[in-house]
């Protein structure tokens, strides 16, 4: 690919998804009944809801399904596939709008997803669901508002909800947790703002709300959650109706906020924690990926950050520059490793790290595509990443570039 920067990575294909190449934070793979590998992708915003791409041959991906959102004041952003079920997050632009919540689809026939239920989390102060995690076929772990939750600060509206979908036609909430002090009526005082921002953008930084909640079958009694400016939390969810804090770690302040993902490496007693870059032109630099010693889960100790390319080279190239999503070792047809970490870093592309020595994470490969045509910024903004069990890497551009499939010589 002309203009790409590559080290030990090879681009296999790029597909702009029928001209709707803005990809959100949802990529999840289904092995269909006929053995095809279908990558389901949530779009970053309207008008598209989600796309299904046959990536059985990653060199020739084929869009086999693409759906529309009900209106343009909403986005899906996040989805997860478990077997032949898919859960899709719906987040609206303005609190009170609908539909806000989670729609569950039967995707047995990938070309024609069939809606089987909708879990409504709309409300006067709710924007619905931003992100969800669904890997066990039983529970969805979501970042959402709800009709009965009135946040003290409008941007603190999405909290941790556990939704029972053992009967996927009747999803219902079984537990919730929110950062103490963020709900009206809480005894705890409201948290001190890390970097106060104007109120016009509800999606922006300056928020104590949930982003990701990761729960793995190996530790079904633990939720690892990124609570944006509130930092990283380990929750005991052995009683789902009453999640309890085991421990937390928060580098904000002095760091500029937005804990995004907390991924445990359970066989090594480590956590990988990312802070999402949410402002262009390095306005919120540095947004780092952290390595946390969690051998004693009640005492989380930061031991390293992942190396980043020079801010003087990337900070002002256009768009965002810094950490964001990582491949989350989810169950399913997914590459799982506690020694190799795959991440996307907006205009710094896709980067792969060897963390055998967690005190010194080492970058071993990278790929930066050129800025795609039609993007609102001059650089590629790599936004989401998934690696399948063949080692094929899938990554999406936030604004226009669509799906990139790659392989790494590692």
């Amino acid at each position: 690919m002309q203009g790409a920067v590559s080290n030990r990575m090879t681009l296999l294909s790029q597909d702009t998804l029928r001209g709707f190449g803005a990809i959100g934070e949802g990529m999840s793979m289904q092995i269909a009944g006929d053995s095809r590998r279908i990558l389901w992708i949530a779009h970053e915003g309207p008008p598209k809801n989600f796309s299904a791409v046959d990536v059985s041959d990653p060199r020739t991906p084929k869009v086999i399904c693409q759906t529309e959102l009900p209106h343009n004041n909403m986005r899906s952003n996040s989805l997860e596939v478990c077997g032949n079920l898919m859960a899709v997050a719906y987040q609206v632009s303005v609190p009170g709008q609908q539909p806000a919540g989670i729609e569950i689809f039967d995707i047995s026939t990938p070309e024609t997803p069939r809606s089987i239920s909708f879990y409504d989390t709309s409300g006067p102060h709710s924007r619905g669901v931003h992100c969800l995690w669904f890997v066990d076929g039983e529970y969805i772990h979501a970042s959402s508002g709800s009709a009965d939750f009135m946040p003290r600060h409008p941007r603190d509206d999405q909290f941790y909800q556990i939704i029972d979908v053992r009967d996927p036609t009747r999803p219902h909430e079984v537990g919730r947790w929110w950062y103490p002090g963020t709900r009206k009526g809480d005894v705890a005082p409201p948290p001190a703002r890390v970097r106060p921002q104007p109120m016009e953008n509800l999606r922006g930084p300056d928020a104590f709300r949930l982003h990701n909640a990761n729960v793995y079958p190996e530790r079904p009694d633990r939720a690892y959650i990124g609570y944006i400016d509130g930092g990283a939390f380990v929750l005991d969810i052995s009683d789902k109706s009453d999640p309890r804090v085991v421990s937390s770690w928060n580098p904000h302040p002095p760091y500029p906020g937005f804990t995004h993902t907390v991924m445990p490496l359970l066989e090594r007693g480590l956590l990988v924690v990312t802070d999402e870059c949410v402002q262009d032109d390095a306005e919120d630099w540095p947004k780092l990926t952290w390595m946390i010693d969690a051998r004693v889960e009640t005492n989380l100790v930061p031991i390293a950050t992942f190396p980043m390319p020079p801010v003087e080279e990337f900070g002002h190239k256009g768009g965002r520059f810094g950490s964001h999503n990582i491949h989350e070792n989810r169950p399913g047809p997914s590459f799982r490793s506690e020694e190799i970490i795959f991440g996307c870093f907006f205009n710094a592309g896709i980067r792969i790290f060897d963390i055998k020595n967690p005190y010194r994470p080492e970058e071993i490969a990278c790929f930066i595509p050129p800025g795609p045509a039609g993007s609102r910024v001059p650089t590629a903004q790599m936004n989401e990443i998934y690696v399948d069990d063949r080692g094929v890497i899938y990554s999406g551009d936030r604004w226009a570039g669509g799906l990139y499939t790659l392989e790494a010589d590692i």
Partner: protein, 259 residues
């Protein structure tokens, strides 16, 4: 034997980031490096089995020895030294080492009658209590944790290695242990492992799932040919038990086992 002369298997083990550089450093520091050091092993055909009582894998200063009274304390010391060879984040390898030594100790209790009979046959009355059947624990095969095995044909100083979770050498076969867990091998890791399997007939791969039932066989094999127990700190001359301790002999090549 130096680390580079005629070896069929070069191994760097322990807390290692760059095995090639580590091996080069060892060779530069001491061209006559012993076959077994606290972080390396060079195996040739006919090398004696590596056991907990083998000389070289740990340093055991005299002042430490004087503070270790009895089999229990010494075995505990061996456990700690083995654990210290592994990164604090290699929880699976640490669990494997603990489990292996637990199995060894259990196996020794299980075989107590037979082991005491070996001691008696060697002319040492059991009533003396020295050695005891428990001392056979030191005859257990030594696991080299987090072992990087140099691929055969590599004569450049170890540019290519394949990592395994532990390696045993019983005098005939090297058993490379892979603990199946949450990490899939990368493509290059898988290729290197395939090369090892294809090119090294004296290496067998043991893939262990939880629970690690395959360990018992290694522990049992450790004891089959041990005529007498030797703790790693005792100085014993080969001729003291001439003809009786060939497989259990220390590997220092000096004719004596010393710490």
């Amino acid at each position: 034997m130096s680390a580079g002369s005629g070896a069929v298997l070069h191994v760097v083990y322990g807390i290692v980031e760059d095995p090639g550089a580590a091996l080069a450093r060892l060779r530069a520091a001491d061209p006559g490096t012993s076959p077994l050091t606290p972080m390396s092993f060079s195996m040739i055909h006919g090398s004696p089995a590596l056991r907990l009582n083998s000389h070289g894998w740990m340093n055991l200063p005299a002042d430490v020895v004087s503070g270790l009274s009895g089999t229990e304390a010494l075995l505990h010391y061996c456990r700690e030294r083995l654990h210290n060879r592994v990164s604090v984040f290699s929880l699976a390898i640490r669990a494997f080492l603990s489990h292996y030594l637990d199995v060894v100790e259990a196996e020794i209790e299980h075989l107590r009658g037979e082991l005491e009979s070996r001691i008696s046959k060697a002319g040492l009355p059991i009533s003396l209590g020295f050695p005891t059947h428990r001392d056979f624990a030191f005859s257990a095969l030594l696991p080299l944790p987090n072992a990087y095995i140099g691929l055969s044909g590599d004569r450049s100083g170890g540019a290519e290695f394949v990592r395994v979770d532990a390696l045993f050498w019983d005098g005939k076969t090297a058993t490379a242990v892979l603990l199946e867990g949450n990490s899939a091998p990368t493509r290059s890791d898988a290729q290197r492992l395939k090369r090892l399997e294809d090119e090294s007939p004296h290496v067998s791969i043991l893939r262990l799932k939880k629970p690690m039932s395959g360990i018992a066989d290694i522990a049992r094999r450790s004891l089959n040919d041990a005529v007498l127990p030797f703790g790693p700190y005792r100085t014993l001359h080969r001729d003291a038990f001439a003809g009786r301790e060939t497989e259990n002999a220390p590997s220092s090549g000096s004719g004596a086992e010393k710490a």
